[in-house]
Amino acid sequence: MNHLGFEMEKVKIGSFDFTCCEGCQLQLANKESTLPDFLALLDIRNFREISSERLDDYDIALVEGSITRPDEIERLKAIRGKAKVLIAFGTCACFGGVNSLKNRIPQEEAIREVYDNKAVETMPSMKISDIVQVDYSIPGCPVSKDEVEQILVGIVTRSQVSLPTYPVCVDCKQQLNTCLFDLGELCLGPITRAGCNAVCTTGKTACLGCRGPAEELNMPAFLELIKEKGLSLEDLHEKLAFYNAFEPLATDET
């Protein structure tokens, strides 16, 4: 496009993973229908899932995963130093993700449980913004390819880049889904940021809040709802803690 009198330039992009399953990056190689167009926007300098290039000059860094080892901190800082724009990519990068479950037990216990006491260097899981400045966050476990496309197109064209501010309920109602609360389940949809097209709830699986809180949460009202419906507060705690995306509830609420 050059209808405004300027040409768009491809963005030099690098993608990096820390402690994660690389599922979010893999997501980018999906959706074949738009894949060639999507790749055409990008000058891929470093992206294990897509290209064999290993170059060091990039403007945008997609960072997937959480930080769980001291050496990862150094690597992340180096990436931040090179990138003009750093995008926390996926729930682990944005909030700590599933990896943060181990933060709830003593580290020794976690190592014993998982690695059978092998010497493993590990520390509590941290999100990217705990360590370096993050310019954009794209939450999701995994990320939605649609949303990633939209955000990267936004960065390339310098048009609006934003996440929905409203909760999943809006998307879910638009899919004509039956509310999971009506089926007696505890769903985090009312407090979780939309943008996922309500995939989980459409599949009758309660929302676990992988996209983090919607803007302006009314947590007291949500707690009231859980109590009103006779649902388990323990279940709520479990769900809120699952991706480490929500502030833990004040202890007097438990």
Partner: protein, 305 residues
């Protein structure tokens, strides 16, 4: 068994003539009023200050150019294809059919994209929308124009109008205030307004610097400089919402009737046609019933200012 002469595909719903004709998008008259815009070329870009520029647009189609008529105070929806639309008040003369001028501050993503656009690029406009300043009603009276900051932009259309029909109006005053001297817009036109349009004009800034030799303070201070009969005066007030309250209540104390003071409200319009409800103030649409309201109505609108 039923007689299957009745085959529904033969009686396809499409084939039955509809009670009301579906709009024909090939017919421009039916298209323009909704989402089809007038294609324009950006013919000139004049930097006014660090943040504001004056964009001059020319409608490509000669017929459309002739059809596009607006009244002072109306706004249009400016579309930068790919980036979206923004409501912008029209700053040029209503009698000028050759081009439209828009004074725009770089604020959101649409205006930012426009600031990157080159001269000669194509954009689109929809409109004009909304209410206008009642220029006819003001005839035979004094006109007091009070602009703060970017509020000078919608003020240019009534100024041009007054210039075109100068003999119909009595004394015309323009009071213009800005935060800083560098934010004063259209300074190159001040002499023209004073000498050609016979407008009595005075300016003021809130935070003066060493280059500023004029007055500093609140815009209402400028009212001391002029004498006029408030009962024979209409006022137009444009500027940031905070300004409306203290300027209008000041004018009220001077004795200008509330229904002779006009303000232009700003909201984020999405459709411009009174459908999307994004610009509602109380029970009123800013895009249909506004943006120009008399102060009496604004006072009575909930959550207006």
């Amino acid at each position: 068994m039923h007689d299957m002469r009745f085959t529904i595909p033969g009686q396809d719903l499409n084939r039955e003539p509809f009670a009301v004709k579906i709009p024909d998008f090939q017919k421009k008259s039916e298209v323009m009023i909704t989402d089809k815009g007038y294609k324009c070329r950006i013919t000139n870009i004049v930097p006014l200050s660090g943040l504001e520029r004056l964009f001059q647009l020319r409608i490509i189609d000669p017929l459309e150019r002739e059809v596009f008529n607006f009244r002072p105070g109306q706004f249009l929806m400016l579309e930068v294809p790919g980036y979206g639309e923004a409501p912008i008040s029209i700053s040029s003369s209503t009698s000028n059919h050759e081009f439209i001028e828009l004074c725009i501050r770089k604020a959101g993503h649409v205006t930012s994209a426009l600031f990157e656009a080159r001269q000669g690029a194509f954009v689109s406009i929809r409109g004009p929308f909304g209410t206008a300043f009642p220029m006819a009603e003001m005839q035979g009276h004094n006109v007091l124009l009070i602009a703060g900051g970017l509020g000078i932009a919608p003020m240019r259309a009534p100024l041009f109008w007054i210039n075109d029909h100068r003999d119909k109006y009595r004394d015309v005053f323009l009071l213009y205030g800005a935060k800083e001297p560098s934010q004063m817009l259209f300074t190159y036109q001040f002499e023209e307004w004073k000498k050609v349009s016979h407008v009595q004009m005075s300016t003021i800034v809130e935070n003066p610097d060493e280059s500023w030799t004029g007055r500093s303070g609140m815009i209402t201070a400028l009212l001391d400089e002029f004498t006029f009969d408030p009962k024979e005066t209409y006022a137009i007030v444009c500027g940031p919402p905070v300004m409306f309250k203290f300027v209008c209540s000041h004018l009220d104390r001077l004795g200008i009737p509330m229904n002779r003071m006009f303000v232009s409200l700003e909201r984020r319009m999405h459709c411009g046609m009174g459908k999307c409800c994004r610009c509602m103030v109380g029970s009123t649409f800013t895009c249909l019933d506004g943006p120009v309201f008399d102060y009496w109505s604004v006072m009575n609108l909930k959550e207006a200012i």
